[in-house]
Amino acid sequence: MWRRCAVSCRADRVGLGPVGLWSYHAAIGARPGRPEGGPVSDPIPMVDYLVLGGDPHLVAHECTSCGARFFDRRNACASCGAVDSFSSVDIPTAGEVRAFTIVKSWTGGDDYVPAVVDCGGTSVRGQIVNTPPDPEHVKLGMKVRLTTYSIGADSTGTEAITYGFEPA
Protein backbone atom coordinates (compact mmCIF):
# COMPACT_ATOMS: atom_id res chain seq x y z
CA MET A 1 0.00 0.00 0.00
CA TRP A 2 2.90 2.37 0.60
CA ARG A 3 5.09 3.43 -2.26
CA ARG A 4 8.72 4.15 -1.81
CA CYS A 5 9.81 7.42 -3.32
CA ALA A 6 12.11 6.66 -6.19
CA VAL A 7 12.42 10.16 -7.53
CA SER A 8 15.24 12.55 -6.90
CA CYS A 9 15.00 16.20 -6.17
CA ARG A 10 17.72 18.65 -7.04
CA ALA A 11 16.85 20.70 -4.03
CA ASP A 12 18.60 18.13 -1.91
CA ARG A 13 20.58 19.62 0.94
CA VAL A 14 19.70 23.20 0.29
CA GLY A 15 19.91 24.97 3.64
CA LEU A 16 16.62 25.67 5.32
CA GLY A 17 15.89 29.33 4.88
CA PRO A 18 12.76 30.92 6.24
CA VAL A 19 10.71 29.08 3.65
CA GLY A 20 13.08 26.21 3.12
CA LEU A 21 12.92 24.32 -0.13
CA TRP A 22 10.00 26.27 -1.38
CA SER A 23 12.15 29.26 -2.15
CA TYR A 24 14.59 27.05 -3.98
CA HIS A 25 11.91 25.48 -6.10
CA ALA A 26 10.49 28.89 -6.87
CA ALA A 27 13.92 30.21 -7.74
CA ILE A 28 14.65 27.48 -10.25
CA GLY A 29 11.18 27.65 -11.68
CA ALA A 30 10.47 24.04 -10.86
CA ARG A 31 7.22 25.02 -9.22
CA PRO A 32 4.43 25.51 -9.77
CA GLY A 33 3.14 23.79 -12.82
CA ARG A 34 4.69 23.15 -16.18
CA PRO A 35 3.96 24.13 -19.75
CA GLU A 36 1.72 21.78 -21.70
CA GLY A 37 3.77 18.81 -22.74
CA GLY A 38 6.75 20.02 -20.73
CA PRO A 39 8.62 18.02 -18.14
CA VAL A 40 6.83 16.97 -14.97
CA SER A 41 7.72 19.18 -12.02
CA ASP A 42 9.98 17.83 -9.35
CA PRO A 43 8.05 16.41 -6.43
CA ILE A 44 7.85 18.60 -3.37
CA PRO A 45 8.20 17.59 0.26
CA MET A 46 5.03 17.72 2.35
CA VAL A 47 6.85 19.70 5.02
CA ASP A 48 9.78 22.02 4.60
CA TYR A 49 11.98 20.06 7.00
CA LEU A 50 11.97 17.02 4.73
CA VAL A 51 14.78 17.01 2.19
CA LEU A 52 14.17 14.77 -0.81
CA GLY A 53 16.65 13.29 -3.24
CA GLY A 54 18.68 10.12 -3.29
CA ASP A 55 19.16 10.27 0.44
CA PRO A 56 15.92 11.63 1.90
CA HIS A 57 16.30 12.96 5.40
CA LEU A 58 15.02 15.52 7.85
CA VAL A 59 16.67 18.79 8.71
CA ALA A 60 16.16 20.65 11.97
CA HIS A 61 17.02 24.07 13.29
CA GLU A 62 19.59 23.57 16.01
CA CYS A 63 20.23 26.15 18.67
CA THR A 64 23.89 27.09 18.42
CA SER A 65 23.91 27.87 22.10
CA CYS A 66 22.38 24.77 23.73
CA GLY A 67 21.82 22.29 20.90
CA ALA A 68 18.03 22.06 21.21
CA ARG A 69 16.41 21.10 17.92
CA PHE A 70 13.21 22.34 16.32
CA PHE A 71 11.46 21.39 13.11
CA ASP A 72 9.60 24.68 12.84
CA ARG A 73 10.97 28.21 13.02
CA ARG A 74 11.58 29.83 16.38
CA ASN A 75 12.28 33.42 17.25
CA ALA A 76 14.41 32.29 20.14
CA CYS A 77 15.33 28.94 21.61
CA ALA A 78 12.54 27.43 23.73
CA SER A 79 15.17 25.71 25.83
CA CYS A 80 17.72 28.40 26.61
CA GLY A 81 16.23 31.60 25.22
CA ALA A 82 19.12 32.40 22.85
CA VAL A 83 17.75 34.77 20.23
CA ASP A 84 17.90 34.03 16.52
CA SER A 85 20.84 31.70 16.75
CA PHE A 86 20.12 28.53 14.82
CA SER A 87 21.97 26.39 12.33
CA SER A 88 20.69 23.55 10.16
CA VAL A 89 21.43 20.00 11.19
CA ASP A 90 20.66 16.72 9.45
CA ILE A 91 18.70 14.21 11.53
CA PRO A 92 19.77 10.54 11.44
CA THR A 93 17.36 8.43 9.42
CA ALA A 94 17.63 5.38 11.67
CA GLY A 95 15.62 5.33 14.85
CA GLU A 96 13.73 3.46 17.51
CA VAL A 97 10.00 3.60 18.26
CA ARG A 98 9.52 5.24 21.62
CA ALA A 99 5.72 5.55 21.51
CA PHE A 100 3.00 4.70 19.06
CA THR A 101 -0.73 4.48 18.64
CA ILE A 102 -2.90 2.93 15.96
CA VAL A 103 -5.63 5.31 14.87
CA LYS A 104 -8.76 3.63 13.63
CA SER A 105 -9.91 5.16 10.39
CA TRP A 106 -13.62 5.94 10.38
CA THR A 107 -13.66 7.19 6.82
CA GLY A 108 -12.97 3.91 5.09
CA GLY A 109 -9.25 4.56 4.78
CA ASP A 110 -6.47 2.51 6.29
CA ASP A 111 -5.72 2.60 9.99
CA TYR A 112 -2.53 4.54 10.60
CA VAL A 113 0.26 4.36 13.13
CA PRO A 114 1.46 7.69 14.52
CA ALA A 115 4.64 7.32 16.49
CA VAL A 116 7.45 9.08 18.27
CA VAL A 117 10.74 7.88 16.87
CA ASP A 118 14.04 8.49 18.60
CA CYS A 119 16.49 9.24 15.80
CA GLY A 120 19.87 9.30 17.47
CA GLY A 121 18.64 11.41 20.36
CA THR A 122 16.28 13.64 18.40
CA SER A 123 12.60 12.88 18.75
CA VAL A 124 10.74 12.81 15.45
CA ARG A 125 7.04 12.66 14.78
CA GLY A 126 5.94 10.34 11.99
CA GLN A 127 3.99 7.25 11.08
CA ILE A 128 5.09 3.64 10.97
CA VAL A 129 4.57 2.35 7.43
CA ASN A 130 5.24 -0.70 5.29
CA THR A 131 4.05 -3.04 8.01
CA PRO A 132 0.51 -4.03 9.03
CA PRO A 133 -1.05 -1.47 11.41
CA ASP A 134 -1.56 -3.77 14.38
CA PRO A 135 0.15 -4.33 17.75
CA GLU A 136 1.51 -7.67 16.58
CA HIS A 137 3.68 -5.92 14.01
CA VAL A 138 4.34 -2.57 15.65
CA LYS A 139 6.23 -2.75 18.92
CA LEU A 140 7.74 -0.34 21.38
CA GLY A 141 11.49 -0.23 20.90
CA MET A 142 11.42 -1.58 17.34
CA LYS A 143 14.16 -0.34 15.02
CA VAL A 144 12.97 1.70 12.07
CA ARG A 145 14.35 3.80 9.24
CA LEU A 146 13.03 6.79 7.37
CA THR A 147 11.27 6.26 4.08
CA THR A 148 9.24 8.52 1.82
CA TYR A 149 6.09 8.15 -0.22
CA SER A 150 3.70 10.24 -2.27
CA ILE A 151 0.51 11.66 -0.82
CA GLY A 152 -0.77 12.49 -4.30
CA ALA A 153 -0.37 14.91 -7.16
CA ASP A 154 -1.91 18.31 -7.63
CA SER A 155 -3.54 19.61 -10.82
CA THR A 156 -0.13 20.33 -12.36
CA GLY A 157 1.04 16.78 -11.81
CA THR A 158 3.39 17.73 -9.00
CA GLU A 159 3.56 15.05 -6.38
CA ALA A 160 3.85 15.87 -2.68
CA ILE A 161 6.08 13.53 -0.73
CA THR A 162 5.82 12.78 2.96
CA TYR A 163 7.99 10.63 5.17
CA GLY A 164 7.34 7.71 7.46
CA PHE A 165 9.34 5.07 9.26
CA GLU A 166 9.49 1.43 8.20
CA PRO A 167 10.85 -1.56 10.09
CA ALA A 168 14.62 -1.60 9.73
Partner: protein, 403 residues
Protein backbone atom coordinates in the same frame (compact mmCIF):
# COMPACT_ATOMS: atom_id res chain seq x y z
CA UNK B 1 -8.02 29.69 60.62
CA UNK B 2 -5.44 32.21 59.53
CA UNK B 3 -6.65 35.42 57.93
CA UNK B 4 -4.92 34.69 54.65
CA UNK B 5 -6.04 31.09 54.37
CA UNK B 6 -8.18 30.33 51.36
CA UNK B 7 -11.37 28.30 51.63
CA UNK B 8 -14.02 26.90 49.37
CA UNK B 9 -17.28 28.13 50.90
CA UNK B 10 -19.76 26.76 48.38
CA UNK B 11 -19.42 24.51 45.37
CA UNK B 12 -21.64 22.76 42.86
CA UNK B 13 -21.59 20.83 39.64
CA UNK B 14 -24.49 20.11 37.32
CA UNK B 15 -25.09 16.61 36.12
CA UNK B 16 -22.72 15.95 33.25
CA UNK B 17 -24.26 14.54 30.09
CA UNK B 18 -26.66 15.85 27.52
CA UNK B 19 -28.47 19.11 28.22
CA UNK B 20 -30.16 19.83 24.90
CA UNK B 21 -32.47 22.46 26.38
CA UNK B 22 -29.79 24.51 28.13
CA UNK B 23 -27.12 26.70 26.58
CA UNK B 24 -23.76 27.40 28.21
CA UNK B 25 -25.11 30.45 30.03
CA UNK B 26 -28.02 28.43 31.45
CA UNK B 27 -25.70 25.71 32.66
CA UNK B 28 -23.22 28.20 34.12
CA UNK B 29 -26.06 30.02 35.89
CA UNK B 30 -27.38 26.77 37.35
CA UNK B 31 -23.97 25.87 38.78
CA UNK B 32 -23.21 29.42 39.95
CA UNK B 33 -26.49 29.94 41.75
CA UNK B 34 -26.24 26.51 43.35
CA UNK B 35 -22.67 27.17 44.50
CA UNK B 36 -23.72 30.50 46.02
CA UNK B 37 -26.66 28.82 47.78
CA UNK B 38 -24.38 26.02 48.95
CA UNK B 39 -22.15 28.64 50.57
CA UNK B 40 -25.06 30.57 52.05
CA UNK B 41 -24.12 33.74 50.15
CA UNK B 42 -25.37 35.69 47.13
CA UNK B 43 -23.88 37.29 44.06
CA UNK B 44 -23.99 40.59 46.01
CA UNK B 45 -21.28 39.20 48.29
CA UNK B 46 -18.88 38.40 45.47
CA UNK B 47 -15.92 40.70 44.81
CA UNK B 48 -14.62 38.98 41.70
CA UNK B 49 -15.83 36.58 39.02
CA UNK B 50 -13.70 34.32 36.85
CA UNK B 51 -15.43 32.35 34.12
CA UNK B 52 -14.26 29.81 31.60
CA UNK B 53 -15.83 28.33 28.48
CA UNK B 54 -13.11 27.08 26.19
CA UNK B 55 -15.12 26.54 23.02
CA UNK B 56 -16.64 30.01 23.30
CA UNK B 57 -13.64 31.76 24.75
CA UNK B 58 -14.24 34.94 22.75
CA UNK B 59 -17.85 35.30 23.84
CA UNK B 60 -17.25 36.66 27.33
CA UNK B 61 -19.09 34.08 29.40
CA UNK B 62 -18.53 36.01 32.62
CA UNK B 63 -20.50 39.04 31.54
CA UNK B 64 -23.19 36.88 29.97
CA UNK B 65 -23.49 35.03 33.26
CA UNK B 66 -23.78 38.28 35.20
CA UNK B 67 -26.78 39.21 33.08
CA UNK B 68 -28.43 35.99 34.24
CA UNK B 69 -27.58 36.08 37.92
CA UNK B 70 -26.65 39.65 38.84
CA UNK B 71 -24.77 42.55 37.27
CA UNK B 72 -22.94 43.95 40.25
CA UNK B 73 -20.09 45.65 38.42
CA UNK B 74 -17.34 43.49 39.90
CA UNK B 75 -14.22 42.68 37.87
CA UNK B 76 -14.69 39.74 35.51
CA UNK B 77 -11.90 37.58 34.19
CA UNK B 78 -12.80 35.39 31.22
CA UNK B 79 -10.18 32.69 31.16
CA UNK B 80 -9.17 30.01 28.68
CA UNK B 81 -6.44 27.47 29.37
CA UNK B 82 -7.33 24.30 27.47
CA UNK B 83 -8.55 21.51 29.75
CA UNK B 84 -7.15 23.39 32.74
CA UNK B 85 -9.60 26.26 32.15
CA UNK B 86 -11.76 25.49 35.19
CA UNK B 87 -8.78 25.18 37.51
CA UNK B 88 -7.42 28.41 36.06
CA UNK B 89 -10.71 30.22 36.77
CA UNK B 90 -10.65 28.95 40.34
CA UNK B 91 -7.02 29.94 40.79
CA UNK B 92 -7.73 33.40 39.37
CA UNK B 93 -10.33 33.95 42.09
CA UNK B 94 -8.00 32.50 44.71
CA UNK B 95 -5.27 34.94 43.65
CA UNK B 96 -7.69 37.88 43.83
CA UNK B 97 -8.79 36.90 47.34
CA UNK B 98 -5.25 36.12 48.43
CA UNK B 99 -4.13 39.55 47.24
CA UNK B 100 -6.64 41.17 49.55
CA UNK B 101 -8.50 42.87 46.72
CA UNK B 102 -11.71 41.20 47.86
CA UNK B 103 -12.71 38.59 50.43
CA UNK B 104 -15.04 36.46 48.34
CA UNK B 105 -15.24 35.48 44.70
CA UNK B 106 -16.94 33.12 42.29
CA UNK B 107 -15.33 30.80 39.74
CA UNK B 108 -17.37 29.12 37.01
CA UNK B 109 -16.54 26.71 34.21
CA UNK B 110 -18.96 25.42 31.59
CA UNK B 111 -18.86 23.56 28.30
CA UNK B 112 -21.31 22.07 25.82
CA UNK B 113 -19.62 19.19 24.05
CA UNK B 114 -22.26 16.54 23.46
CA UNK B 115 -21.76 15.16 19.99
CA UNK B 116 -18.58 17.16 19.44
CA UNK B 117 -16.66 14.14 18.16
CA UNK B 118 -12.92 13.82 18.39
CA UNK B 119 -11.04 16.94 19.25
CA UNK B 120 -7.72 18.07 17.89
CA UNK B 121 -7.48 16.55 14.43
CA UNK B 122 -5.92 18.69 11.71
CA UNK B 123 -6.96 17.12 8.45
CA UNK B 124 -6.31 20.41 6.69
CA UNK B 125 -8.41 22.12 4.12
CA UNK B 126 -9.68 20.25 1.10
CA UNK B 127 -6.87 19.72 -1.38
CA UNK B 128 -6.43 22.75 -3.53
CA UNK B 129 -5.65 22.76 -7.23
CA UNK B 130 -1.98 23.22 -6.56
CA UNK B 131 0.07 22.33 -3.52
CA UNK B 132 0.47 25.44 -1.42
CA UNK B 133 2.70 25.75 1.61
CA UNK B 134 1.18 27.02 4.81
CA UNK B 135 1.91 27.21 8.50
CA UNK B 136 5.03 26.98 10.55
CA UNK B 137 6.14 23.69 9.03
CA UNK B 138 5.53 24.85 5.47
CA UNK B 139 3.17 21.96 4.96
CA UNK B 140 1.12 21.33 1.84
CA UNK B 141 -1.46 19.24 3.68
CA UNK B 142 -2.89 18.63 7.14
CA UNK B 143 -0.75 16.40 9.32
CA UNK B 144 -3.49 13.99 10.36
CA UNK B 145 -2.87 10.52 8.96
CA UNK B 146 0.12 11.74 6.95
CA UNK B 147 2.53 12.72 9.66
CA UNK B 148 1.02 11.40 12.85
CA UNK B 149 -2.04 12.48 14.75
CA UNK B 150 -3.27 15.45 16.71
CA UNK B 151 -6.47 13.74 17.76
CA UNK B 152 -6.57 13.57 21.51
CA UNK B 153 -7.15 9.79 21.81
CA UNK B 154 -4.04 9.17 19.72
CA UNK B 155 -1.91 11.80 21.44
CA UNK B 156 -2.69 10.42 24.88
CA UNK B 157 -2.35 6.85 23.67
CA UNK B 158 1.25 7.70 22.82
CA UNK B 159 1.70 9.32 26.23
CA UNK B 160 0.74 6.04 27.91
CA UNK B 161 2.74 3.88 25.53
CA UNK B 162 5.79 6.08 26.03
CA UNK B 163 5.60 5.33 29.75
CA UNK B 164 5.60 1.61 29.04
CA UNK B 165 8.63 2.07 26.84
CA UNK B 166 10.51 4.04 29.49
CA UNK B 167 9.46 1.53 32.16
CA UNK B 168 9.15 -1.76 30.29
CA UNK B 169 6.12 -3.86 31.09
CA UNK B 170 5.99 -7.59 30.43
CA UNK B 171 2.23 -7.92 30.55
CA UNK B 172 -0.48 -7.14 28.04
CA UNK B 173 -0.52 -3.37 27.61
CA UNK B 174 -3.99 -3.22 26.09
CA UNK B 175 -5.52 -5.11 29.00
CA UNK B 176 -3.60 -3.04 31.55
CA UNK B 177 -5.18 0.17 30.31
CA UNK B 178 -8.58 -1.51 30.08
CA UNK B 179 -8.30 -2.47 33.74
CA UNK B 180 -7.67 1.14 34.69
CA UNK B 181 -10.76 2.09 32.74
CA UNK B 182 -12.82 -0.68 34.37
CA UNK B 183 -11.96 0.72 37.80
CA UNK B 184 -13.31 4.12 36.81
CA UNK B 185 -16.44 2.78 35.14
CA UNK B 186 -17.20 0.77 38.26
CA UNK B 187 -16.78 3.90 40.38
CA UNK B 188 -19.21 5.80 38.19
CA UNK B 189 -22.08 3.54 39.22
CA UNK B 190 -22.07 5.36 42.55
CA UNK B 191 -22.05 8.87 41.07
CA UNK B 192 -25.50 10.05 39.99
CA UNK B 193 -23.98 13.11 38.30
CA UNK B 194 -21.80 11.03 35.95
CA UNK B 195 -22.71 11.16 32.27
CA UNK B 196 -22.31 7.40 31.94
CA UNK B 197 -23.08 5.11 34.87
CA UNK B 198 -22.29 1.68 33.59
CA UNK B 199 -20.14 -0.97 35.19
CA UNK B 200 -18.05 -2.48 32.41
CA UNK B 201 -15.84 -5.55 32.52
CA UNK B 202 -12.30 -5.45 31.20
CA UNK B 203 -13.43 -7.65 28.33
CA UNK B 204 -16.35 -5.35 27.49
CA UNK B 205 -14.02 -2.36 27.48
CA UNK B 206 -11.54 -4.11 25.19
CA UNK B 207 -14.36 -5.08 22.84
CA UNK B 208 -15.63 -1.51 22.51
CA UNK B 209 -14.85 0.17 19.18
CA UNK B 210 -11.14 0.95 18.90
CA UNK B 211 -10.43 4.67 18.65
CA UNK B 212 -6.65 4.91 18.95
CA UNK B 213 -4.88 1.81 20.22
CA UNK B 214 -4.82 1.06 23.06
CA UNK B 215 -7.74 3.41 23.79
CA UNK B 216 -11.15 2.02 22.92
CA UNK B 217 -14.22 4.23 23.15
CA UNK B 218 -14.83 3.29 26.78
CA UNK B 219 -11.28 4.41 27.60
CA UNK B 220 -11.86 7.92 26.22
CA UNK B 221 -13.39 10.77 28.17
CA UNK B 222 -17.01 11.30 27.33
CA UNK B 223 -17.79 14.52 25.49
CA UNK B 224 -20.62 15.97 27.53
CA UNK B 225 -22.35 19.13 28.65
CA UNK B 226 -21.94 20.46 32.14
CA UNK B 227 -20.94 23.25 34.47
CA UNK B 228 -19.32 23.64 37.86
CA UNK B 229 -18.85 26.63 40.12
CA UNK B 230 -17.12 27.44 43.39
CA UNK B 231 -17.26 30.27 45.91
CA UNK B 232 -13.88 31.18 47.40
CA UNK B 233 -13.57 33.00 50.73
CA UNK B 234 -10.68 34.32 52.81
CA UNK B 235 -10.00 32.95 56.27
CA UNK B 236 -10.67 36.37 57.76
CA UNK B 237 -14.09 36.58 56.17
CA UNK B 238 -14.98 32.96 56.93
CA UNK B 239 -14.48 33.64 60.64
CA UNK B 240 -17.36 36.13 60.49
CA UNK B 241 -19.73 33.57 58.98
CA UNK B 242 -21.88 30.97 60.74
CA UNK B 243 -20.58 27.88 62.49
CA UNK B 244 -22.28 25.73 59.88
CA UNK B 245 -20.59 27.62 57.04
CA UNK B 246 -17.25 27.24 58.80
CA UNK B 247 -17.83 23.53 59.36
CA UNK B 248 -18.63 22.85 55.72
CA UNK B 249 -15.93 25.08 54.30
CA UNK B 250 -13.00 23.22 52.73
CA UNK B 251 -9.49 24.58 53.06
CA UNK B 252 -7.44 25.13 49.92
CA UNK B 253 -4.01 24.11 51.18
CA UNK B 254 -2.35 24.49 47.81
CA UNK B 255 -3.32 26.03 44.48
CA UNK B 256 -0.70 25.57 41.79
CA UNK B 257 -0.63 26.23 38.07
CA UNK B 258 2.30 25.28 35.85
CA UNK B 259 3.13 25.26 32.16
CA UNK B 260 5.43 22.83 30.42
CA UNK B 261 9.13 23.57 30.68
CA UNK B 262 11.26 22.73 27.66
CA UNK B 263 11.94 19.03 27.22
CA UNK B 264 13.64 17.48 24.23
CA UNK B 265 10.59 15.71 22.83
CA UNK B 266 7.89 18.19 23.83
CA UNK B 267 7.84 19.67 20.34
CA UNK B 268 6.84 16.27 18.99
CA UNK B 269 4.53 14.83 21.63
CA UNK B 270 3.10 17.08 24.32
CA UNK B 271 4.90 16.47 27.59
CA UNK B 272 2.19 16.09 30.21
CA UNK B 273 4.61 14.68 32.75
CA UNK B 274 7.15 17.30 33.71
CA UNK B 275 4.69 20.08 34.44
CA UNK B 276 2.46 17.75 36.44
CA UNK B 277 5.35 16.56 38.58
CA UNK B 278 6.46 20.15 39.13
CA UNK B 279 2.94 21.18 40.09
CA UNK B 280 2.67 18.26 42.50
CA UNK B 281 6.00 19.06 44.16
CA UNK B 282 4.99 22.69 44.60
CA UNK B 283 1.58 21.70 45.93
CA UNK B 284 2.89 19.19 48.47
CA UNK B 285 5.39 21.74 49.67
CA UNK B 286 2.80 24.50 49.97
CA UNK B 287 0.37 22.23 51.81
CA UNK B 288 3.03 20.70 54.00
CA UNK B 289 1.83 17.19 53.24
CA UNK B 290 3.04 14.28 51.14
CA UNK B 291 1.34 11.92 48.71
CA UNK B 292 0.92 9.31 51.46
CA UNK B 293 -1.35 11.72 53.34
CA UNK B 294 -3.93 11.85 50.54
CA UNK B 295 -7.24 10.13 51.19
CA UNK B 296 -8.36 10.48 47.59
CA UNK B 297 -7.21 11.89 44.26
CA UNK B 298 -9.15 13.10 41.25
CA UNK B 299 -6.69 13.15 38.36
CA UNK B 300 -7.05 13.96 34.71
CA UNK B 301 -7.93 10.63 33.11
CA UNK B 302 -8.97 12.16 29.80
CA UNK B 303 -7.95 8.72 28.50
CA UNK B 304 -7.11 5.51 30.33
CA UNK B 305 -3.56 5.83 29.01
CA UNK B 306 -3.23 9.20 30.75
CA UNK B 307 -4.28 7.97 34.17
CA UNK B 308 -1.32 5.61 34.42
CA UNK B 309 1.35 8.27 33.91
CA UNK B 310 -0.18 10.60 36.47
CA UNK B 311 0.12 8.01 39.27
CA UNK B 312 3.81 8.57 38.77
CA UNK B 313 3.71 12.31 38.01
CA UNK B 314 1.72 13.02 41.17
CA UNK B 315 4.19 10.80 43.05
CA UNK B 316 1.49 8.48 44.31
CA UNK B 317 3.88 5.62 43.50
CA UNK B 318 7.67 5.26 43.50
CA UNK B 319 9.13 6.69 40.30
CA UNK B 320 8.72 4.32 37.37
CA UNK B 321 6.44 2.03 39.35
CA UNK B 322 2.96 3.11 38.22
CA UNK B 323 1.97 -0.25 36.76
CA UNK B 324 2.86 -2.27 39.84
CA UNK B 325 1.26 0.36 42.05
CA UNK B 326 -1.98 0.12 40.12
CA UNK B 327 -1.89 -3.65 39.93
CA UNK B 328 -1.54 -3.84 43.72
CA UNK B 329 -4.96 -2.19 43.94
CA UNK B 330 -3.78 1.10 45.41
CA UNK B 331 -5.89 3.24 43.08
CA UNK B 332 -9.12 1.36 43.71
CA UNK B 333 -11.67 2.89 46.00
CA UNK B 334 -10.67 0.49 48.79
CA UNK B 335 -6.96 0.99 48.09
CA UNK B 336 -4.36 3.15 49.77
CA UNK B 337 -5.00 6.18 47.53
CA UNK B 338 -8.35 5.94 45.77
CA UNK B 339 -8.12 7.60 42.35
CA UNK B 340 -11.12 8.95 40.48
CA UNK B 341 -13.83 7.64 42.75
CA UNK B 342 -16.15 9.97 40.80
CA UNK B 343 -15.77 7.65 37.81
CA UNK B 344 -13.20 9.93 36.21
CA UNK B 345 -13.56 11.69 32.93
CA UNK B 346 -13.98 8.35 31.15
CA UNK B 347 -17.44 7.94 32.67
CA UNK B 348 -18.27 11.14 34.54
CA UNK B 349 -17.68 13.11 31.36
CA UNK B 350 -15.35 15.94 30.39
CA UNK B 351 -17.08 19.24 29.64
CA UNK B 352 -13.69 20.87 29.32
CA UNK B 353 -13.91 24.12 31.28
CA UNK B 354 -16.14 22.56 33.94
CA UNK B 355 -13.76 19.70 34.66
CA UNK B 356 -11.22 21.62 36.73
CA UNK B 357 -13.89 22.75 39.19
CA UNK B 358 -15.91 19.53 39.10
CA UNK B 359 -12.83 17.63 40.30
CA UNK B 360 -12.62 20.01 43.25
CA UNK B 361 -16.34 19.50 43.90
CA UNK B 362 -15.77 15.77 44.11
CA UNK B 363 -12.99 16.18 46.66
CA UNK B 364 -15.01 18.70 48.70
CA UNK B 365 -17.96 16.34 48.70
CA UNK B 366 -15.89 13.64 50.39
CA UNK B 367 -14.14 16.00 52.80
CA UNK B 368 -17.53 17.26 53.92
CA UNK B 369 -18.78 13.70 54.34
CA UNK B 370 -21.54 14.32 51.81
CA UNK B 371 -20.56 11.86 49.07
CA UNK B 372 -23.27 9.30 49.80
CA UNK B 373 -22.72 5.81 48.44
CA UNK B 374 -19.24 6.57 47.18
CA UNK B 375 -18.01 8.35 50.31
CA UNK B 376 -14.40 7.58 51.16
CA UNK B 377 -14.64 7.03 54.92
CA UNK B 378 -13.19 9.79 57.08
CA UNK B 379 -11.55 11.59 54.16
CA UNK B 380 -9.46 14.50 55.42
CA UNK B 381 -7.18 15.45 52.52
CA UNK B 382 -7.63 15.23 48.76
CA UNK B 383 -5.88 16.33 45.60
CA UNK B 384 -7.44 17.47 42.32
CA UNK B 385 -5.40 17.54 39.12
CA UNK B 386 -6.16 18.71 35.61
CA UNK B 387 -4.04 19.12 32.57
CA UNK B 388 -4.66 21.03 29.38
CA UNK B 389 -2.54 20.37 26.34
CA UNK B 390 -0.28 23.10 25.27
CA UNK B 391 0.28 22.71 28.23
CA UNK B 392 -1.21 23.86 31.54
CA UNK B 393 -1.49 21.89 34.75
CA UNK B 394 -3.55 22.75 37.80
CA UNK B 395 -3.13 20.98 41.13
CA UNK B 396 -5.19 21.81 44.20
CA UNK B 397 -4.84 20.19 47.61
CA UNK B 398 -7.89 20.44 49.83
CA UNK B 399 -8.36 19.73 53.52
CA UNK B 400 -11.47 19.36 55.60
CA UNK B 401 -12.11 22.11 58.09
CA UNK B 402 -11.77 20.15 61.31
CA UNK B 403 -14.28 22.42 63.02
Amino acid sequence: MANDDIWILGINMTKFGKHPDSDVVDLAADAALAALADGGVTIQDMGVLAAGNLMGAAAGLGQQLQKQIGQTGIPVYNVANACATGATALRTVIMAVKSGECDMGLAVGVEKLSGAGMLGAGFGAAKSEEWTRAGRHGTVSGFEGKLGTDMMPGVFAQVGMEYLHAHPYDGAEFELFARISAKNHFNSTMNPLAAIQKDMSVEQIMNEPMIAYPNTRAMCSANSDGAAAAVVVSGAKLRTLSAEQQRRAVKVSASVLTSDPYQEACQILPDVNTLTRRAAIQAYEAAGIGPADLDLVELHDCFATAELVHYDNLMLCPEGDAVAWFEAGNAHRDGSTPVNVSGGLESKGHPIAATGIANIWEICHHLRGEAGARQIPDAKVGLAHVIGLGSACGVHILERSGL
